[in-house]
Symmetry: C4
Subunit: 320 residues, 4 copies
């Protein structure tokens, strides 16, 4: 019985927790394919959990630009009202003031010209009050755009790994036994150095009291670190007698609600920083009795050609 085997495995293995805890994740997957967690957070007010920097760094570019444009208009509206109530005719030299609408418009665009420090000067502040407000607005503008500058560049230069995973993890023949394998490629043409990989299997067992417990077991890899990563790397867990996968079928893994977590850590040569990538395979993403086909060729000019679109190519291969 699968549950028995996995439970016995757990006996010698009990603290290999990835940090999810032993009762988490009833039926769904814990880690989504994109590396995010299938988790909701409650019981914290918006303000307690809100971190403006994390938010502005993480939202999409469309949302980010929308936020900037909205802030820009809001600030201009605010200052426009101030200039408008001070009196455009007397406080803004050069403004066209035939109608109330025109007055507000001139105040608004004068504000925009001050906030961005473009300051054409057709409209200019005259007298203490508007000059003072304009001086504060110019300061506000410089400081606000300073912050935007930083966030914009922070977003743009945020170190991220773009690791391509093969769609499936496979059970393939390997030497005299079988192995659990998947392939990864660097999706960018920059260099990753000193790449480390960890694969953890998560599964559930049914306890005596009929509750479900989630267990974790780290899979021993043929090789868990390489110095360079210019090519495809096939990550291999040999299913020997010590493997928690020994004797299990894909059906067994489905029954145990198994999930394979992958953590990849590397040094990015362009960002000069450590980057992480996460991924996971659920049991419906497993294939058995196939092997991967090499996805590179030697070019006549002496260099090697890597085919990124062939990362999933596999052919039937009977298991041992």
């Amino acid at each position: 019985m699968i549950s028995e085997k996995l439970k016995s495995l757990f006996k010698n293995n009990e603290f290999q927790d990835l940090g999810f805890g032993s009762k988490a994740g009833g039926s769904g997957r814990l880690l989504n394919r994109d590396g995010s967690f299938n988790l909701k957070r409650k019981g914290q007010s918006f303000l307690q959990s809100f971190s403006p920097y994390h938010w502005l760094i993480s939202i999409s570019w469309q949302h980010f630009l929308l936020v900037i444009v909205l802030l820009y208009f809001t600030m201009n509206l605010l200052y426009a009202f101030i200039y408008y109530f001070l009196g455009v005719e007397t406080h803004l030299a050069g403004a066209i003031t035939n109608t109330e609408q025109e007055k507000f418009m001139e105040a608004f665009f004068f504000s925009a010209q001050t906030l961005t420090t473009v300051g054409y000067g057709r409209i200019s502040p005259i007298g203490f009050f508007s000059s003072f407000i304009a001086a504060m607005e110019a300061l506000t503008g410089v400081l606000s755009f300073a912050l935007v500058t930083g966030i914009l560049y922070g977003r743009f230069s945020k170190p991220t790994a773009n690791i391509l995973f093969s769609d499936n993890a496979i059970f393939a023949p390997y030497r005299n036994i079988n192995a659990f394998m998947f392939r990864i490629i660097n999706g960018r043409s920059n260099q990753l150095i000193e790449i480390e990989v960890q694969v953890t299997m998560s599964y559930t067992t049914r306890e005596e009291n009929n509750t479900t417990q989630r267990r974790y077991a780290q899979l021993k890899l043929e090789r868990d670190k390489v110095n360079f990563f210019p090519m495809t790397w096939t990550i291999v867990h040999p299913i020997d007698s010590n493997s928690p996968l020994e004797g299990l079928s894909i059906k067994d893994l489905e029954d145990a609600d198994a999930e394979f977590f992958i953590i990849i850590k590397a040094f990015d040569d362009t960002f000069c920083q450590t980057v992480y990538s996460r991924g996971s395979y659920k049991s419906n993403e497993l294939l058995s009795g196939v092997k991967f086909v090499p996805n590179f060729a030697n070019d006549p000019d002496g260099s090697t050609v890597l085919f990124l679109d062939k990362i999933n190519d596999h052919i039937p291969a009977p298991l041992n």
Copy 2:
């Protein structure tokens, strides 16, 4: 006798110093709950210890903005005096110069328009001297705001961990023995990776010569590292026969002026940097004979729900 037990413990343990030294901290706590040290520094002049960057990065946002605004006004005042003494009528074209007050005001606002590079141009420098001063002021402005830009963004993007600690550390039953436990949650919704935790107990012993010595002992944890930290993590020190806490009551710990130091290290996935968090528990923050209640639930949609406000929830549980 508690003192004897802790002293004998120290014999085999003597170099586990956290860096506080053996005579520090008579009666108060060494490490405040917010992670700062209960320490005063003397014998160094202000200039020797003053680091502008550390200061500007560390002060509150209110103070920081106040500093910026004060600097802005001071610089404008300074340049206003220069233009004023050069002579506003002859050196600033376009300025309104009916009264001395108006002259100074125009000089001040011209300065502000130059420093922020808004340069409306209603007032503009004419002749060598004011043009030269204005050229230097514009350079000053660009350089000053460059520095402010950097510090503003440095403050905003400073990698910080926001780890929530349970209010109390508890003595709870654990397998066949008891354990010292506390819980932590990531206060932000971003991801922390490869989290490591160290717990050190500090206590005082009375020496033969009747002096008090402060000792340190690192507590062995059931698990001191997890890969992910999306959920609550209960940090557990099993009180087995090797534990310095074996056989001690909360009263004993109070007598020995015990304090538990926690250092947490993690990789922040948004900042792409290593972050640290510190915390501590004094003996009056300990509870005995209780256990924590799980603070998450499985959602019908397959995801897991985490309740951050239930981090402290506990129920009575008789010790073994």
Copy 3:
């Protein structure tokens, strides 16, 4: 037979893969002298692999400035067309509008003055439409230059190591045996701290089925880490009985298509960051029966003089 020896070596050594895979690199070198890989990537659309940040950080300074100037002109052209079609006479106050050509020119330069926020004001927007476009253009300008600011500085401050390698790696007498050696110097006068070096030999073996397999063997170094790196560092692999080079001639290495990969890791004291450097020697860059000549001298004033141009100096030295 060389192939036999190297094949037997591989038996005990089989997972020392640098990340190139065992079938890569038919005839050419895998790693170019400048540290780049001799590799082509195919099967990925341009957009999939394109990372603007990596591209803008990696292109040459000439190309980078060209990209900036082209973008600047394109954006100005775009906005100039908008102002031109709105009508320069009615929407841009102060513009000279005798001919169509002049109108477009004034629109173009007004755009440039807005985008850079210089805003002289001889030409200024009048009415809602041009004022609105100008307000958006000023915002665009500030945001674009914010991004350019970041990239410009990112390029300028990108941590890079400038390690000079000796042109040749040599086989030299060493104690009672021989050794494989090469020399490195820090090409900059800044300090590198905690320098680590790894040397891996790659070679091909002919298999039973007449295919060629590429193998890897890490070379054990006399010393693989130093704390400081102010001087020349001679990296030494002693060719003892455990060395994969034992008994091999340069001719043997040529036949096995050998390549020596070097990875250097250090902490840069100026950048305060970890930097990496790569290098490689092919068999035609090896010399046998020579030794390096010291390239420093003691100055009469007590300091040491390092001659960077003498890094390659060597004299004949019969092998043991």
Copy 4:
């Protein structure tokens, strides 16, 4: 004989090289007290070794500001000449052009107003040529100040440790033996975490062929890492029978031209980065038969007071 003892020590110890090499440093010190190396680099052209970023980050603030001001004037001069030769009367609207001198002055200040994007507009470009040059100058200005912004902030925020070392290293009684000791304090009030220290002794031996060889031996420390560093840390090398210092006097160390190198590595909590500090003691900075006096006291309010100016305080203490 000292030389014999140190030579025999070297036999079992021969690869403990810090990276200076065995023949370096005849008579002077290798590492200056400020952590710089006593070394001259020759044989490299200026351009080969020149790294603008390293230079601009490393020069003093006075030199840096001088460089900026000089560049600013040079660029304005250059552009002023262009406008001047185009013809100020016809190409710069609003300029005062009574004398040639005035023309050049107006061209110069118009350039300054363009480069800083202040753009008052009293003087403004008119016609294609000056408008085009001004558009390019504004772009140049924005890009140049972008670079200056980055460097300015890079200088300001450069992570540096400010570790205070005691003036002398001492030989003091320690338990039943003696020890080599010195003290360090964090010169800033920010926090350093996970501080590691390495102490290496360097000395010369006279070889059979009457040449001098420089040797290195790492000193084993009582404790080489602490978690926090709020107080004074006394670094202690116990002189037991395994110590290279066993049985040696200060006179012996002088004869052997001994130097003690200290490398300190820590994580700075404000910069969120790893910082390094270097130091060294020559034999004339050693004291024997003294011990350090504690330089802190317990405050009545429960906190601890640290006296930074008492780091050197010591009293006589006969050696064991």
